[in-house]
């Protein structure tokens, strides 16, 4: 499953490295994390990681393969 998670604010490189399995781009006040998500457990794990870093998740969607 490919997912895209849009996070409020521009993430530093350091913080982005806490999501080593995902790529990221920074654009107009947001950071988009994207890449392959293994399964639902992984997906919820990513959301929990966002929460524990104090990140605001604006949008999350599954990308067409």
């Amino acid at each position: 499953m490919r997912y895209e998670i849009r996070v409020d604010g521009e993430m530093t490189e350091t913080l982005a490295k806490a999501f080593p399995e995902l790529d990221h781009v920074v654009m107009s006040g947001c950071t988009i994390l994207f890449g392959l998500v293994v399964d639902e457990a992984h997906l919820y794990g990513l959301l929990a990681r966002c929460q524990s870093f104090g990140l605001r998740v604006l949008e999350m969607r599954q990308m067409p393969e």
């Binding site: 993430m11 350091t14 950071t31 929990a48 524990s52 870093f53 104090g54 990140l55």
Partner: protein
């Protein structure tokens, strides 16, 4: 069983965890409030409603200020407040409930010791929850139970159990959950009932006034519009505001700094933390990054990680500034969870590879004194398996791999160990894991490797606990000996443990009751295998009668199961049944982690049921036992399984299958006399049932002559072959044996009765049958009488034998006290009375025998049986076998 003393203090009450973890109390401590804490009255007022609703949920993002809000409110509450930080829940619901009970006791809730304790990490029995709910609901003032970090509870079972507790405690408990994510309780139902107080993220956000208050406490006073801009930027997020204040405080112009930050669009925590960190001295930065790998820390531990000795001062400064750390009391601190996460991300980027090294240092620092669980976690994170296994073995905690609350966690932790580490301790732990899963061959190989490594290692000073290592080795030897069925080896190993006992600190042995209990169980099982029942009993009953503790509950059940088997083998089904039922109660009926003797208690119950001719029940129990024990277990259990299976098959008339079951020999180093005797008896009984008495007698001749079951069986075979004198001689050899139970004496009396009948001595025969009936009736032993042969049945129709048999063996006007076919149901009309022969046929039909089997059993031709059946059908007004049996049962003819 030890009796619980209600008056004295329970010696284990203070140890929720069987090991008595010295860090436990931090999970129960209400967090300290920082000096800059702002009490927000609107939230406190809302939270006060928690006193009137059973459930309260404080649900907000990381750093929203939930914990401090509830901590402030709880410390001001009157009455008992139990606080539990739910970190432990990741270790399974058994651990969770053990901690929860302890939290309640610490809060001054008087719980009786009869409530019990969870004995396994992943399981809690429902009775405990019911008893807890009952005790709590009797309180006149509710206890306030706060569970912090409830979002760590991910498994649904804890949520279900809490829901159960909530439903049944009435006014006795107020549950407050502090969580980042919505709990898995059915909140909608509580909402509909108005039985919930909810404080959510939006309500936790700081208002402009509250934010101004907070900034002032950090020495910043700003005009209202600037504060409100900051609140909007941070969306009232407590952690964001606090970090803003910390970052701006050291600026020459904090107002301009905060303005600039407002226009910046980076993620708040990340940006601010980097800013705050930048303002700290290099030493402090280094310290913060390094301690981010720890759940909790003190100055000495922090020094160990930094390699300097300034942690005490730095930590005191940091705590005064309220920057990142909370004080837990007794010189211990922890990082704010949000900051800790980000610090760890920074650590990984700034010093790649340092994390493992830090974990290693932490593990080595903790090893001599610290809690074992944390030492193991750090050592495993550092991949330092010598340290991890050394700590486990040095602490004499090897037994915890097999039983108790930590078994699952430990086993999982060590499953990550690769094949590289070659120290004796790593070999021993590998051996323990293989033996635990009953991979005997592989376990033995590992044990040998460990032995070789130890032998080459004698002069190595690196091993701080040589005695503990050798004791662990001897302990595993005992287990290996039990699993391979070599009693001599088990005795040697037990002897070695006894000698090493005095060389290890007594404290360690006291802290690990499971080790001694497991050893006795292994020794007892090995002795039982060897047929040395008295010695086996003495080893097993020391455990079975020991004080009930969570760490040993499973072992106690196992020992009770073995004791039950001894009673059964001695011919005492009633005693065996009581012990086996007690064993089942000890572990509960739920699935347990596989132990070598699992399911033995169900096997004994199945055997007793088979002796009572309750074959359906016996089969069901056999299935339960096989499920519990898994494919491989100790030889005692496997032999018991073969015997019970064979007995049930025989009773069902499947002689060929029973022969096969008897043939399935249990592999072991040393053959077991009783296992062999029972296998031979099964084979002999099968041949006897198929009409080959000579072969049956011959099979038993080869057996060692003093096994009572064999003597009785051989006597039966000799008699069937028409040789009465040898039969009586065999029975005479039984006499000197002591402690033989009714299962043996009833069979023996019946053989003698048949002999007496054969020689025409009717009076003796009747006396012996009466004796057998009396003894059998007490235990409900139907099988020996059903097996006795056709000569017995006519006798049972005459008084006084009929009175002895009625009600449990044969139907008829039952004596008072047994259930009577009720008077409301008028007996169905009967065309004609059934003849005795027709009843015999019907009775066999009810036992699912085929026409051919009935013919063989009654020594008549198949045609005769068919004639009897036809006339029975006519009299009962039916035309199918099934209906005939049912109709005959309804009429009380069977």
């Amino acid at each position: 069983m030890a009796v619980l003393d209600d008056n004295g203090p329970d010696p284990t009450a203070e140890r929720a965890d069987p090991r008595g973890d010295p860090f436990l109390w931090t999970e129960f401590a209400i967090p300290d409030l920082p000096a800059s804490f702002v009490r927000r009255d609107r939230l406190v007022r809302h939270l006060d409603e928690a006193l009137h609703t059973p459930l309260t949920v404080v649900d907000g993002a990381a750093g929203a200020g939930k914990t401090l809000l509830v901590a402030d409110w709880a410390s001001a509450c009157e009455g008992s407040v139990a606080w539990l930080t739910a970190q432990v829940t990741v270790k399974g619901c058994g651990t969770f409930w053990a901690y929860l009970l302890q939290a309640l006791r610490r809060a001054g809730v008087a719980l009786s010791t009869g409530i019990g304790k969870p004995t396994e990490a992943d399981r809690v029995d429902e009775g405990l929850l019911t008893r807890l709910a009952a005790e709590l609901s009797r309180r006149d003032r509710p206890v306030i139970l706060v569970i912090d970090e409830y979002d760590r509870v991910t498994g649904p079972e804890i949520a279900d159990q809490l829901e159960f507790l909530l439903r049944h405690t009435a006014q006795g408990m107020r549950l407050v959950l502090v969580t980042r994510t919505e709990p898995l309780l059915s909140l909608h139902r509580h909402r509909a009932a108005g039985a919930i107080t909810e404080i959510r993220n939006s309500e936790l956000a700081f208002t402009t006034r509250e934010a101004a208050d907070l900034l002032e406490r950090h020495g910043l006073s700003l005009p209202a519009d600037e504060v409100s801009a900051l609140v909007e930027r941070t969306r009232g997020w407590a952690a964001g505001l606090r970090l803003s204040a910390l970052a701006a405080r050291t600026e020459t112009d904090p107002r301009r700094y905060l303005k600039e930050f407002e226009v910046d669009r980076s993620t708040i925590a990340d940006f601010l933390l980097a800013e705050v960190l930048r303002r700290q001295s290099a030493e402090t930065q280094d310290l913060l990054l390094r301690i981010s790998i720890l759940d909790r820390f003190c100055a000495a531990l922090a020094d160990e990680l930094t390699g300097r000795c300034d942690a005490e001062l730095l930590l005191a400064d940091l705590h005064r500034e309220n920057a990142f750390i909370e004080h837990l009391g007794h010189g211990w601190f922890r990082l704010h969870p949000l900051f800790r996460e980000i610090l760890r991300a920074h650590l990984r980027v700034r010093s790649p590879g340092l994390e493992a090294e830090l974990h290693r240092r932490a593990a080595h620092w903790m090893r001599p004194t610290g809690p074992l669980a944390e030492t193991l976690d750090h050592a495993a994170a550092a991949d330092d398996w010598e340290c991890a296994t050394g700590a486990l073995i040095g602490d004499l905690a090897i037994g915890e791999l097999f039983t108790g609350l930590h078994a699952g966690t430990l086993s999982e932790l060590f499953s990550r160990m690769g094949p590289e580490p070659r120290s004796p301790a790593t070999h021993l732990v590998r051996a323990a894991r293989e033996l635990h899963q009953c991979h005997v061959e592989r376990g033995l190989a590992r044990l040998e490797e460990a032995g070789r490594a130890l032998a080459g290692d004698v002069l190595d000073d690196a091993d701080p606990e040589p005695a503990a290592t050798r004791l662990t080795q001897a302990f595993l030897e005992a287990l290996a000996a039990r699993l391979t069925g070599s009693p001599g080896r088990a005795e040697t190993a037990a002897q070695a443990v006894e000698e090493l006992r005095h060389e290890v600190p007594g404290r360690l042995l006291d802290e690990h009751p499971e080790l001694t209990a497991l050893l006795s169980a292994h020794l007892g099982s090995a002795r039982l295998w060897a047929g040395r029942f008295t010695e086996a009993r003495s080893a097993l009953s020391t455990v079975a009668e020991s004080c009930p503790e969570p760490a040993t509950a499973q072992v106690r059940a196992e020992c009770l199961g073995h004791l039950a088997l001894i009673d059964y083998l001695k011919g005492w089904p009633g005693r065996a049944e009581r012990k086996a039922s007690a064993a089942l109660c000890t572990v509960g009926h739920c699935a347990q982690s596989p132990v070598p003797g699992a399911g033995l208690e169900s096997l004994v119950l199945a055997a007793v049921a088979a002796d009572r001719d309750e074959l359906d029940r016996a089969e069901a129990l056999l299935v339960t036992a096989v499920d519990a024990g898994g494919p491989s277990s100790d030889p005692v259990t496997r032999a018991a399984q073969a015997i019970v299976t064979g007995r049930i098959l025989l009773a069902r008339g499947k002689t060929q299958d029973a022969l096969e079951a008897a043939d399935r020999a249990v592999a072991a180093e040393v053959p077991s006399p009783w296992a062999q005797a029972h296998a031979a008896l099964l084979a002999s009984a099968a041949h006897l049932a198929e009409g080959r008495p000579d072969l049956a007698a011959k099979l038993l001749e080869e057996e060692p002559g003093d096994e009572p079951v064999c003597l009785v069986g051989a006597a039966q075979a000799e008699l069937a072959a028409g040789r009465t004198d040898p039969a009586l001689e065999l029975l005479d050899r039984l006499r000197p044996q002591r402690g033989l139970g009714p299962a043996m004496t009833v069979r023996a009396a019946l053989v003698r009765a048949q002999v007496a009948g054969g020689s025409g001595d009717r009076a003796t025969q009747r006396r012996l049958v009466a004796q057998a009936l009396r003894e059998a009736r007490r235990e409900g032993l139907r099988r020996p009488l059903l097996d006795a042969g056709p000569w017995l049945r006519p006798l049972l129709t005459t008084m006084p034998l009929r009175a002895l048999a009625e009600g449990w063996l044969i139907p008829g006007p039952p004596p008072s006290g047994t259930p009577v076919p009720s008077a409301e149901q008028p007996p169905l009309p009967m065309v004609d009375e059934l003849s005795a022969r027709e009843r015999d046929v019907l009775r066999r039909l009810a036992e699912m025998m085929s026409t051919e089997e009935i013919a063989a059993d009654l020594y008549v031709s198949v045609n005769t049986v068919k004639t009897h059946l036809k006339s029975a059908y006519r009299k009962l007004a039916v035309n199918r076998r099934y209906d005939a049996v049912h109709r005959a049962r309804d009429l009380g003819l069977l």
